[in-house]
Amino acid sequence: MTVFTLSAAEREAALLPALTALTERHRLACEPYRRILDAIGAAGPYDRVAALPWLPVRLFKTHELRSVPEEQVFRVLTSSGTTGQRPSRIYLDREAAAAQPRMLAATLRAVLGERRMPMLIVDSRSVVRDPALSARGAGVLGMMNFGRDHTFALDEQGELDAEAVKGFLARHGAEPYLIFGFTYMAWLHLRELGMDLSQGVLVHSGGWKKLAEQSVDNPEYRRRLGEECGLRRIHNFYGMVEQIGTVFLEGPDGGGLYCPDFADVVIRDPDTWQEAPPGVPGLIEVVSTLPTSYPGHVLLTEDLGVVHGVDDGVWPGKRFSVLGRLPRAEARGCSDTYRQAAA
């Protein structure tokens, strides 16, 4: 059972009614969302997914947006706020909170298989022990559900713990195992390790900013980790707390990120806001049917991306890459007002 089955046309046919229904559901249940739709004059019927009204993802930092009464909120997720910024607040009811890990598991099953594998984590145990759990810690903790015999490759000081990794490989090195880490940390520490990881399945996420500064792109990342560590199975993924449970997963061929059947991306030209054709970069809009308790089913991110192809990869649907983050808007002016406004 995999969730990478729908061609672009099938996906469009499945998602359009589901997302339209979600739009109407949130319109009725979330007053601030209704006001936004009214103000921009958004009204159905919508003839395609790209015609659905989107929300800028940052609104979840500035506003409380939920479609369930306060007493039905089961969990509130928060994003890591960069300095001076409020974190996003995502409200899940019991149903949404249950669906989210289930769909994440279904998505990752495509590369991890049915059974839990032994798991090597390229991080320190302390990141999941800190009572004020960081976004990084939450990410690690979330992924730990997908493995067993968790071994942390870094000690409490963040230094490589070669003995621990050796022990792990002695126990599990002969069969497939899962390696999880943030993109940059995996790059840094797995190469430093200098061990044979050829049975490993590396799953990584977290962004390319630091690697881009070192001119390391995804093909280079895969090539070097393959050459230096024997890693053949490498899967990057892209996701955000505002669409928790939905991740866009790199296929086995490394040919781009693929969308699970319940999600899709629309690349928008930031001048015309129309959908950009394959090959033309733009802002990434992410759509997913998972956000049922908050109006996060159609979100315009501040990430730039490009669709490489449609229905032409190892899995059906769109194949895309994330190209980087939009810089923060800056204004000239005679006071520091604008910085406060932006905070």
């Binding site: 930031p270 006071s335 520091d336 406060q340 406004a341 932006a342």
Partner: protein, 405 residues
């Protein structure tokens, strides 16, 4: 240590700097030697090579014409003797390059010794200004270089504290946070602060006047409004953020539609565009206003121009919403503006009102807010009366002299 940008010199400790400036000689209000220097400097700014590249330097040069300086000095004549305050410490904002010159030039003209703290983040225009000032020292009286300093230092509490305790007047631009930050450093008991906190501005248009205006006037007004707004990405404290339309509903709607069309055209013609980051910023801000219930409708005319129809005039936003985002509200009469105005409101750009009406409004406002009322196109023009203060007068003290009878 402080980097000394003007006059040219090696870095010095703050105590040395203060000793040098104090020993630099005395100046008088309206000092001829300073006037000569400022006019020479102003002339250099008006050179076409410079003012074409940086139009704001042209405005500054215009402000420093001999006749203008003369007018300023003369306007301060009165029954009492005006004398300089002494040492003025200026803290200009980092992001508007020309403000420090206006503030400093007036203080120098009034015969003060000045130390200007130029932010290390100051832009290219500030460097051009400093270079031009240095050039202008050629042939200037040595007293100018001896009494005036432009310095640069990274955040240093000890330097700011030393300059604060030595000065007779401290001039703080740059908004609420800067004012609060700098005020942690005490002044000597007789000294005072002149502060320029965060402000915001709006425009008022009489709808009937707009609709009756000849086409050429509307085009010119739209261009003026665009300059007022887009020059500093609408983040300048004097740039309008809300437009109040005065008149009956149908007329206001028609006037606003026509204004928007003219504005859109002026923006396109002037080539003002916003990048993707700014376009997203505007969506975040305007959608946020809708979510709050303060925006009833939002319409975009490309990324460069966004209109927000306020659900009530009370919701007029003071904060920055991204370049080219205008909130609109309708008022039945100019008087309806009065309860909406607050201390934070600085400049009211206007179209379609008589001088008498504006004077009356200023009286009725009675200090609630609004320190400037200027026509479209003049929002960013510096005037020595700024934020409710006559700067030139503020840079002096008065000596009351009563002779034997």
């Amino acid at each position: 240590m402080l980097d000394v940008r003007f006059p040219d010199g090696p870095p010095v400790p703050v105590d040395t700097l203060l000793d040098q400036v104090t020993a630099g000689g005395d100046l008088a209000v309206g000092d001829e030697r300073v006037r000569d220097f400022l006019t020479g400097f102003g002339r250099r700014l008006l050179r076409p090579t410079l003012s074409r590249r940086h139009p704001e330097l042209g405005s500054l040069g215009f402000f420093l014409r001999r006749s203008e300086l003369q007018r300023t000095v003369q306007s301060l004549r009165g029954d009492h003797v005006r004398v300089p305050r002494g040492l003025v410490f200026h803290i200009p904002p980092a992001n508007v390059d020309t403000v420090f010159v206006y503030s400093w030039a007036l203080a120098a003209l009034m015969g003060n010794r000045n130390v200007v703290r130029l932010s290390p983040r100051a832009g290219a225009v500030a460097s051009t200004i400093v270079d031009t000032l240095l050039e202008s020292l050629d042939g200037a009286d040595p007293v100018v270089a001896a009494t005036q300093r432009i310095v640069c230092y990274d955040r240093s509490d000890s330097i700011t504290a030393a300059l604060s305790s030595a000065c007779d007047l401290r001039v703080i631009w740059g908004g609420d946070r800067t004012v609060d930050e700098i005020r942690k450093h005490p002044l000597t008991p007789h000294a005072r602060d002149l502060t320029f906190p965060d402000r915001s501005s709006f425009a008022v248009v009489r709808s009937s006047a707009w609709l009756a205006a000849p086409p050429a006037t509307r085009v010119a007004m739209a261009e003026g409004f665009v300059n007022d707004s887009y020059w500093f990405d609408q983040a300048a404290c004097s740039s309008p953020r809300t437009v109040f339309w005065v008149g009956p509903r149908g007329e206001c709607d028609a006037a606003r539609a026509d204004f928007t069309a003219h504005l859109s055209q002026a923006v396109t013609q002037r080539g003002w565009a916003v990048d993707a980051a700014m376009a997203v910023e505007k969506r975040v801000a305007t959608y946020g206003m809708a979510a709050d219930g303060s925006a009833g409708a939002i319409d975009f005319h490309g990324n460069a121009l966004a209109n927000v129809t306020l659900s009530t005039a009370v919701a007029a936003p003071r904060r920055w919403l991204g370049t080219g985002t205008f909130a609109h509200a309708r008022l039945g009469s100019l008087a309806e503006l009065v309860p909406l105005v607050g201390r934070r409101d600085q400049t009211m750009t206007h179209f379609g009102f008589s001088r008498a009406e504006l004077l009356e409004l200023a009286q009725v406002l009675a200090g609630r807010g609004v320190d400037r009322m200027v026509p479209f196109g003049d929002a960013l023009s510096f005037h020595r009366v700024w934020d409710g203060v006559d700067l030139a007068a503020e840079f002096t003290r008065l000596v009351m002299v009563s002779a034997d009878r």
